[in-house]
């Protein structure tokens, strides 16, 4: 499916569809609460079949956090980008590790470096940092006088 | 000619003439010192040979700095090991820990007794030579298990258990191969076996069953000495270095030495049983050819055959990947043992009917 067809298809079942313009792939913004149901619908058939989650990114925009999921289908070869806006004081989003097993590690990384909490994750703990590390290193306001050198 | 036989005979008569009462004791002492000297020499030569052979197979040069062509490398290594601290782990059983390397070395020395190095050069030509070798070589398992247990290390014990299981299993096939040659010869005495190869080596005279026996024997002794491709217990990159993990310094050197001397011994036995020991290559009734072959001294024949087999075993190590423990035991119990049994029957049939050369 190309961009327009995909857009039409998504508008069918998304509660409040809001698309971002100007990206190389179709980008859709979703509420954190609705992510679980939407993810299941994206994964299952009906011409969507987004079975390959290839990139999970957490972005710190200072006023809010965004989770970016890059999905593609190995059957239809279309790609979708899902963005979820999160409140920096309490960034919680449902996990999708039950739907795409690759998300287990990716979500652990996002938790470790950005502090995004994935509700329902089977084993949410730090991945790269040591278990006792305080703070979320990849955030823009992260201060570490010992390890960070400011130019 | 300057043959070992003459030297040993002359020393023997001189000793009995000079010291009639203590001659036996002195002779034993001399033999003991010779054996220890042989051990040291063998260790030196074999370790260097392994390193050079492996290097040339891996497109590199091996040790070439210490001494001309690297020949003094092992000496340097032995000196280093002698000066290292010999650590005993904390909860180890001190008596068994210290005894284990000696057990392994002593067993290796005992097996040297019936082996004939050259014409007339045998420490003890007992009438059950082959049986003695089989029996005494089984004792080395005790040394290995002792080392594993006394180290107070779970992984040493695991490695020792695996090693023990492997050795005990492969002894069966090795023993059956040996018996098939004994069937042909009709005697357990080493000198008889060699004498029976006067008109040709058993490998050629015994044709098919002898070749099968030989191949099974070589595979079985590679497994017995824990060499690749059966070195799961010691060269594991997943687990520790097997039963000799906790050993350092001179005790480790003894284990290391014992491994290489064991290789020499099993190749010597293979050479004796299948390739004629010190007997030159004779072909049946070609007297001219046989006479020509006799000019090469018997000790040279023996060393040539043994080192050729050692080279083949070293070749195996650098060519094949490792077998997993279950594949290893499968190989023995499901394949080698039935084939050896069947081969033994075949050999007996051939011996009775006289269908060998």
């Amino acid at each position: 499916m190309n961009k327009e067809e995909l857009k039409a298809r998504l508008e069918e079942f998304l509660p409040t569809p809001s698309f971002e313009e100007g990206g190389q792939w179709l980008t859709v913004m979703i509420d954190p609460a609705a992510w679980d149901t939407v993810a299941r619908q994206l994964r299952s058939g009906g011409g969507l079949d987004f079975d390959f989650l290839f990139c999970v990114t957490a972005v710190d925009w200072r006023t809010h956090l965004t989770m970016v999921y890059h999905l593609t289908s190995t059957i239809h070869r279309h790609t979708l980008v899902v963005k979820i806006k999160l409140d920096p004081a309490n960034p919680e989003v449902p996990t999708v590790s039950g739907i795409w097993r690759t998300a287990e590690f990716h979500e652990r990384e996002a938790y470790d470096l950005m502090g995004v909490v994935f509700t329902g994750h089977p084993d949410l703990r730090r991945l790269f940092m040591t278990d006792e590390w305080k703070g979320w290193p990849l955030r823009k306001d992260y201060e570490d006088p010992v390890n960070m050198i400011k130019l | 000619m300057l043959s070992f036989e003459n030297i040993t005979a002359s020393i023997h008569t001189w000793l009995y003439a000079r010291f009639p009462n203590a001659a036996l004791l002195l002779e034993s002492l001399i033999v003991g010192l010779c054996v220890i000297g042989l051990f040291a020499l063998l260790g030196l030569v074999l370790v260097l040979m392994e390193r050079k052979v492996s290097a040339y197979m891996q497109i590199r040069l091996g040790p070439n700095r210490v001494g001309p062509g690297g020949s003094l490398q092992t000496l340097a290594d032995t000196l280093k090991l002698a000066m290292k601290e010999g650590l005993t782990p904390d909860g180890a059983d001190k008596f068994l820990f210290n005894l284990a390397p000696f057990m392994v070395i002593v067993v290796a020395m005992l097996i040297l007794a019936p082996v004939a190095f050259a014409k007339g050069t045998q420490i003890w030509d007992l009438n059950i030579g082959v049986l003695y070798i089989s029996a005494v070589s089984s004792l080395s398992v005790i040394g290995i298990l002792m080392a594993g247990w006394a180290s107070n290390n779970k992984y040493s014990l695991l490695g020792a258990m695996r090693s023990g299981a492997q050795i005990v299993s492969y002894e069966l096939s090795a023993g059956l191969s040996v018996i098939s040659i004994v069937v042909l010869t009709g005697s357990l005495r080493i000198s008889d076996i060699i004498a029976s190869q006067q008109d040709g080596w058993w490998l050629f005279k015994g044709h098919i069953p002898a070749i099968i026996s030989f191949i099974i024997f070589i595979i079985a002794v590679t497994a017995e000495t824990n060499r690749a491709p059966f070195d799961l217990a010691e060269a594991e990159s997943e687990l520790t270095a097997g039963f000799h993990t906790e050993y350092s310094g001179m005790r480790f050197a003894l284990f290391f030495l014992a491994e290489y001397v064991n290789i020499f011994i099993v190749c010597a036995i293979a050479a004796t049983l299948f390739l004629g020991g010190w007997m030159p290559l004779h072909i049946g009734s070609l007297t001219g050819f046989n006479h020509l072959m006799d000019y090469i001294p018997s000790s040279l024949w023996f060393i040539g055959k043994t080192f050729f087999l050692i080279f083949v075993i070293m070749w195996f190590r650098w060519t094949f990947p490792r077998l997993r423990i279950d594949q290893l035991l499968d190989l023995e119990w499901k394949y080698l043992l039935p084939i050896s049994l069947f081969n033994l029957l075949l050999m007996t049939l051939i011996a009775i009917k006289g269908w060998h050369f």
Binding site: G22, G23, Q24, W25, D51, F52, L53, F54, C55, T57, V59, D60, V68, H70, T74, R77, W100, R101, T102, E104, F105, H106, E109, L113, R126, L127, F128, M129, T130, P137, L138, L151 | S54, M57, Q58, I59, R60, K154, Y155, A228, P229, D231, L232, A235, E236, S237, E238, L239, T240, R317, W318, T319, F320, P321, R322, L323, R324, I325, D326, Q327
Partner: protein, 371 residues
């Protein structure tokens, strides 16, 4: 190196494997729960070589950040740099001259060959055959010498830049590559005889570490790991970049899904790389090796994603730019990260010796995973 960490209530043993290894995988720490000899659970502990590259790149310019990726997957350094350069070019709409494209593809394929060679040597060494390691490095030395003449370095070759390549090819490049191809063709047949056809080797690899097609897609595996489970995922075929759409080569796929299938995929990929280099080496077009670009690059505001096929799988570069001279956020999608997540699934129920074989066929480079 093996150290008991504890015992669970069922009497199972928990052991550590690593982080220091005799094999060349890097600093990977696995905590394995064993019941006797059988593996019950494998848990990777990462972060031993985490250098916070993504955070570092937020203070580097668009010309500088490319070379940090050489240090990530150091065996596919050209290909990583290529991915970053493609992303910057996508953002700035730079047109790369044809000569630069061909040079880039040649360097990529040579790097793929070198990476697969090291993988083959290390894999054989893990399984117990100690000699192929030296043969593999002899071939790698030939490739490294060729690279050294043109790029100036042997491992982290900082050669790609936005707009093309940094230097032109060395005059001897064509001749040396042709000599190398002739030499390597004979060797690869030798390797098949020596290792692939060896019955002990096959016994260690066949039936071990099965990964089904659905699981490969679900775990996000790419590259030879996924192609051995019959997943068509070669970026060079699906979304071709540079001159790949004009070349004749096959996407190698096997349906076995076990270690031996992964091994075969890489061996066949080496042959495909040889054929690609063959097609290009005589037809390097004349022209510029670099497009004209400003000294200081500024990407427009927006997001850009580019993917390339490294020796391990799909390497993705995701740049979020706010219009400045440094990126706002960069995310590197590394292939090893997702491949590693499938290790637990593949290794359950196997023996400890099989785990080493599985890790070998996954071809993990830990700096790539940890970033």
């Amino acid at each position: 190196m093996i150290q008991e960490v504890g015992t669970t209530e069922l009497g199972e043993l928990v052991v550590n494997l690593g982080p220091q290894h005799p094999s060349t995988h890097g600093v990977l720490h696995l905590v394995i729960t064993l019941s006797g000899e059988t593996i019950k659970k494998v848990e990777p502990h990462l972060g031993y070589i985490h250098r916070s590259i993504e955070k570092m790149c937020e203070s580097l310019s668009y010309r500088q950040f490319i070379y940090v990726t050489s240090r990530m997957d150091y065996l596919s350094s050209h290909i990583n740099n290529h991915g970053c350069a493609l992303c910057v070019e996508k953002g700035m709409q730079i047109e790369v001259p044809r000569r630069a494209k061909v040079i880039r593809v040649l360097m990529d394929e040579l790097t793929r060959l070198a990476s697969h060679q090291l993988w083959w040597g290390a894999m054989a060494m893990d399984v117990g055959a100690l000699t192929p390691f030296f043969h593999a490095f002899r071939e790698r030395e030939a490739i490294n010498d060729i690279m050294e003449e043109t790029c100036g370095a042997r491992l982290t070759m900082n050669y790609m830049s936005p707009g093309g390549v940094t230097f032109d090819l060395h005059p001897d490049f064509q001749r040396k590559v042709k000599e190398f191809l002739a030499f390597f063709r004979t060797k690869i047949d030798e390797y098949d005889e020596l290792v692939t056809g060896n019955i002990i080797f096959q016994g260690r690899m066949q039936g071990v570490g099965y990964l089904s097609r659905e699981d490969a897609i679900s775990y996000g595996c790419t590259g030879p790991t996924a192609r051995a489970s019959d997943v068509p995922c070669d970026i060079r075929k699906i979304s071709p970049y540079e001159v790949y759409d004009q070349l004749q080569f096959d996407e190698v796929r096997e349906s076995g899904g076990d270690c031996f299938a992964r091994y075969n995929v890489r061996m066949k990929e080496m042959r495909q790389s040889l054929s690609i280099i063959d097609q290009l080496i005589d037809n390097i077009p004349e022209g510029d090796f670099q497009a004209k670009t400003k000294a200081v690059l500024k990407l427009p505001k927006g997001e850009f994603y580019s993917k390339v096929e490294t020796a391990r799988g799909e390497f993705g570069v995701y740049i979020i730019s706010e219009g400045g001279t440094t990126p706002y956020r960069i995310k590197f999608r590394s292939p090893g990260f997702s491949n590693l997540s499938a290790l637990d699934h593949m290794a359950r129920g196997h023996k400890l010796g099989d785990l080493v074989a599985i890790m070998g066929t996954l071809d993990l480079v830990i700096p790539d995973i940890d970033r």
